[in-house]
């Protein structure tokens, strides 16, 4: 099998698994218990917290563990909105956010908040002027993702945070796809809230964290025990947190080396496809894009049919379009970038990771042109053009 869907999730690193195993088997104690046996679980959590904090240059006290990126996004947005309800009810976000952010905003809209969705340009990047113009007296939060999961576009986070700071507005960024790929420093970026997730960086699923800058206040979403300084009730996912910590430790070590290796493979794939297959469009900016992501529209055909054909060859990828009841629903990200419906139906995402090799890329470049040709032969649009 050739796995090229690292933006969806990553395989677990062997070292991470090894580190987790004792906390699944032997150290099963509840970290909140008072006997000495429980101390090891508690220590392990704090140890992991310092690794997570270290990867993003935060203080450990600023890291709250969650059940993943989705919860971190929900926590940041709803937790902030509920805290500030009396002062204002306007939130600014973008049209290309992950559903964890978009649906949280939709929910808030239903209960009386106002949401502004910023446009993006053809590269999937927001306009800072539009952001400034959208800020109002009652704006309580700006939430803009660091890097997009579908096309990999990278936002000017530092400039966004400058604008938010100037206006005294809390800034949240969903950095789930940026973590482990971009060297993140919350101090340098000066963001207030930042969401991250373990399973995108070779850690286990179901664990993540929200960075909450010192002094920034939120209303907790989970009520119950006093875990995570009363900010997130529920017995801690000890093995998950330990795994996340280890994944962060390794990520920090491998950051530079991974980028070099994976960028080379991605560029080879991109160049190869451009050379071998006519009528395609690479989505996103050439530079302001995650080095592991390649999102391409293949004209005259549809993404799912390419994906399933690749699956027959043992190659795992992902397509933007999802078929809902009446019609194919193209990706909201591609549509926001101004890509026409017909074209966005034919999108396919390759996202690479540290276990890919040049042989994987060669294999894709061998089978993909045949698949595209076969599907185009079936397509009425292709025939019209060349038939």
């Amino acid at each position: 099998m050739i796995y090229l869907d690292y933006n969806a999730t990553t395989p677990i690193d062997k070292l991470v698994l090894e580190k987790m195993t004792p906390y699944l088997k032997d150290f099963y104690s509840n970290p909140s218990s008072v006997y000495r046996f429980a101390q090891e679980s508690k220590r392990a959590i704090e140890n992991a917290r310092s690794y997570v904090a270290d990867l993003i240059s935060a203080d450990p006290e600023e890291v709250i563990f969650t059940s993943g990126g989705t919860e971190a996004d929900n926590f940041a947005i709803k937790g902030r909105a509920f805290f500030y309800q009396d002062k204002g009810n306007h939130i600014i976000t973008s049209k290309i956010e992950h559903h964890a952010v978009l649906k949280s905003c939709e929910f808030l809209k239903k209960i009386g908040f106002e949401i502004t969705y910023l446009d993006v340009d053809k590269y999937g990047i927001i306009d800072l002027n539009q952001l400034e113009e959208s800020i109002r007296n009652d704006t309580v939060l700006v939430s803009i993702m660091y890097a997009n999961n579908e096309v990999g576009s990278i936002q000017p986070i530092k400039n966004i945070s400058k604008i938010c700071n100037k206006n005294g507005i809390i800034f949240h960024t969903d950095a789930v796809q940026a973590l482990g790929k971009i060297d993140i420093s919350v101090k340098d970026l000066n963001v207030d809230l930042l969401s991250i997730s373990s399973h995108k960086i070779y850690g286990p699923k179901g664990v993540g964290a929200l960075y909450v800058k010192k002094g920034v206040k939120l209303i907790p979403l989970h009520h119950g025990g006093g875990q995570e300084r009363n900010m997130r009730a529920g017995t801690e996912n000890v093995p998950g947190i330990v795994g996340f910590g280890e994944a962060c430790r390794i990520s920090k070590e491998e950051l530079k080396e991974q980028e070099k290796k994976i960028r080379l493979l991605r560029d080879k794939l991109e160049e190869g496809i451009k050379q071998k297959i006519p009528d395609i469009k690479v989505n996103g900016h050439h530079d302001k894009r995650l080095y592991n992501t390649l999102n391409i529209c293949f004209k005259y055909i549809e993404g799912e049919s390419i994906l399933i054909n690749l699956d027959f060859e043992g190659i795992c990828t992902s397509s933007g379009s999802a078929c809902t009841s009446g019609s194919l629903e193209p990706s909201h990200v591609l549509l926001s970038m101004g890509i026409p419906h017909e074209l966005s139906h034919g999108s396919l995402r390759f996202s690479l990771g540290k276990f890919n090799t040049m042989r994987d890329i060669d294999r894709v470049l061998e089978v993909l042109p045949l698949i595209i040709e076969k599907l185009r032969k079936i397509s009425p649009f292709w025939q019209k053009k060349y038939g």
């Binding site: 005259y300 055909i301 054909n309 027959f312 379009s321 397509s379 009425p380 025939q383």
Partner: protein, 136 residues
Amino acid sequence: MLWKEWLVMSSVYTDKVLDYFRNPRNMGKMENPNGVGKVGNAVCGDVMFIYVKIEGNVITDCTFETFGCVAAIATSSALTEMAKGRTLDDALTISNKDVADKLDGLPPLKMHCSLLAEEGLKSAVEDYHKNNSQTK
């Protein structure tokens, strides 16, 4: 939403669907067809062209071209097989459910693809009648 509905909604393709998708029967444009049905639109993501050759009152050949997902390609291919050899009246009785049944079923979200196939054939037969009345 009921759990059962939710599970069905996220269901995958049957082996038959995948087989018709992988090895499409009767694919491609037809030379000198007696009727062509063009249904769907590219914005919604599914377009089918159904071509028929008609001798006497019988569909002797039927081919397709499709832009769309796995289900769209599989249903149009299955439909062409079902239409071949039938009289016109008989062919018009082919329902979308018949097409789905031939493929051992479709995920509920993809049933509209089979509907498009049914409409494609009906529209091809209509086109044949229209061509015929003009030449008379």
